[in-house]
Amino acid sequence: MQLFLSQVINGVGNGVVFATVALALVLIFRTTRVLNFAQGEMALFSAYISWKLTTFDLPVWVAIGISMAIAFVAGAVIERTLIRPMEGHSPLNVVIITLGLFLGLNALVQLIFGTDPQSMPSPFPKGSVSFIADTRVQKVTIGLMVVLLVECAALWLLLNRTTLGLKLRAVASNPDSARLHGIRAGSMLMFGWAISAAIGALAGSLVASERAALDASLMQVVLVYALAAAALGGFDSIWGAVVSGLVVGVADALTIQYVDALDGIEVVLPLGLILVVLVVMPNGLFGKRTVERV
């Protein structure tokens, strides 16, 4: 029981990370209907920026904040210069562009920051606190949970309680009609990418500080799990992405502990989940309608 509980807690810790990246994916998908395969590498780049800033003795939170601001701008620029011109073309073109970004950014990280693994300081206090049934929870896990909750609440408020959010939702729902109502659809799409990139920067920095080492492969596996979480959540729902992220994290931890056959190929789990969700219930656990793109 104690083992089970501590595995669940482990899983939640990872799940929070998956959820954050999934959130970034969902945000871009909601506003622009693009699945951004470069999300992980954009986050990786931001994580390196955060790390670099901490080497100049900046406090970790300040470093992450600056990195998020840079990512915000970069996200908008990427949308405007690379994604927007593909409007009306085959979705294959956008897939290829995000894959090109994936390769390019990954290599650029190694070129700029080197290939040696780095260690990123944690913004959370060390140690653990005791939890039910003699298990202990890392303070880092609690910190990540808090950050995730704050992030979700902020996003939810932005989307559902502000005029800007209403504009974003209008463009996501019906871009042509939104323009006829005087909403600058282009600006909204840029804004969607910008926020998403900033959230990705936060996620990447937190992953980097949580894991022992920061290197160029950091986000690749995380991206697969995040895609699984986004698919499970229906690609469209903020809370769906969050709950699904946690589900995927916990399921992963339990699989590692209890299913020996998958030793070394745990990644089968998120992939299987993606497949099952897309085939059996294309709306995800929380999606409310058919999402389909030809």
């Binding site: 209907r33 699945l35 979705p91 030793d263």
Partner: protein
């Protein structure tokens, strides 16, 4: 990208008033070819064939190896083109089929003493069946979501080799000895033999793809890509067409994988994103050459291999730069040549042809 989920942009199918509908009606996939284009085509074909046959006698072994790599990439890209270009199913997982082909050959040679040539049909059959198995769930998933699922295959494959393939030193790396690929023809060096074998297989698969695409099956594939619903109403068996295309396409990638073992003398499972990168290579070759063109993948593969080699040598000791330039090149190509090299040339020829035939001849009576 415009979303067409709700009603705003949907207009009735009225000529002139409905751009969305008009844009969706494509011209016949194989337009009437004007004579100058046919002539140009034959000339280009003959020149290419002669060049391809003479090349290995002219070049050094390392260049021949490069060209052989271009050929196996071309084969895989050709398979991907059948699936993505002609049938509209996006796959980022063909690297996995390629890997299965490579490891099938390598394992049969190293562990079971097969001759290399005999392993190729086995790879083709095995990856064909695998393609069939992947193609069935893919029936319910499309567009970006299919890309997502197939991406998973490419990520998964190296991990499976890490778990189940026990090569030298416990890592999933198989290196069949050079003797296994010795030339079977007197007077040809090993590298020349490898090149000609690859070329012969590519020619065979090229003809097969050509016939497939231009026949009834090809029309069904294209119909499914363009108008899925309409295709079923005119009697196209949707499921069979899609799953069948997936299987054939995967088999092409499998054969390419087998050939890669001969060319590179190894099957590698140590790099966790190698087969994902392979998937992207195939996509790039297809897109550079021209999506949904017959010759495109081969042209694209050649350009790709040359590009990669030259970016690698560009800066000493900075091999990392290659994928960066590669990624950048990918983006640039989508912008500059949305139809690919072959698509661009074809349009140019067609335009020239139309101009000459309009000038030269009066229209013939029906």
């Amino acid at each position: 990208m415009a979303s067409d989920r709700s009603g705003a942009a949907v207009e009735p199918a009225v000529a002139g008033e409905a751009p969305a509908t008009v844009a969706r009606v494509r011209p016949s996939p194989w337009p009437e070819v004007p004579r100058p284009v046919r002539v140009a085509r034959i000339v280009i074909g003959v020149v290419l064939a002669v060049a391809a046959l003479y090349a290995p006698l002219y070049f050094e072994p390392d260049v021949n190896r490069l060209l052989s790599q271009a050929i196996y990439i071309a084969i895989a890209a050709m398979g991907l083109n059948l699936l993505t270009g002609f049938n509209g199913q996006v796959s980022i997982g063909h690297g996995a089929f390629f890997g299965v082909g490579a490891f099938t050959s390598a394992i049969l040679i190293v562990d079971h003493g097969w001759t290399f040539e005999a392993t190729i049909p086995v790879s083709a059959a095995l990856t064909g069946v695998l393609g069939l198995l992947v193609g069935i769930p893919a029936l319910r998933v499309r567009g970006l979501y299919l890309a997502l699922v197939t991406l998973g295959l490419a990520v998964l494959f190296p991990r499976i080799t890490q778990k189940y393939v026990d090569g030298t030193g416990g890592v999933p790396l198989l290196r069949p000895s050079r003797r296994e690929f010795a030339s079977l023809i007197e007077g040809l060096d090993d590298d020349q033999w490898a090149y000609y074998l690859c070329l012969a297989i590519m020619a065979l698969l090229f003809v097969l793809a050509w016939n497939l695409v231009r026949g009834r099956v090809g029309r069904a594939m294209i119909a499914v890509r363009d108008q899925e619903l309409a295709a079923t109403t005119v009697g196209v068996n949707l499921a069979a067409t899609k799953v069948g295309t997936f299987a054939v396409s995967a088999a092409y990638a499998g054969v390419a994988g087998s050939l890669s073992v001969m060319v590179d003398k190894l099957a590698d499972g140590t790099n966790p994103i190698l087969y994902f990168q392979r998937s992207i290579e195939f996509l790039v070759a297809m897109v550079i050459g021209g999506t949904a063109t017959i010759l495109g993948p081969a042209v694209g593969a050649l350009v790709l291999v040359l590009l990669r080699r030259n970016t690698q040598d560009l800066i000493e000791g900075k091999e990392i730069l290659a994928p960066a330039l590669f990624g950048a090149a990918l983006i640039v190509i989508v912008f500059v040549l949305p139809e690919g090299l072959v698509g661009g040339v074809r349009r140019l020829l067609l335009r020239l042809g139309q101009r000459t035939s309009a000038r030269g001849r009066a229209p013939t009576a029906p």
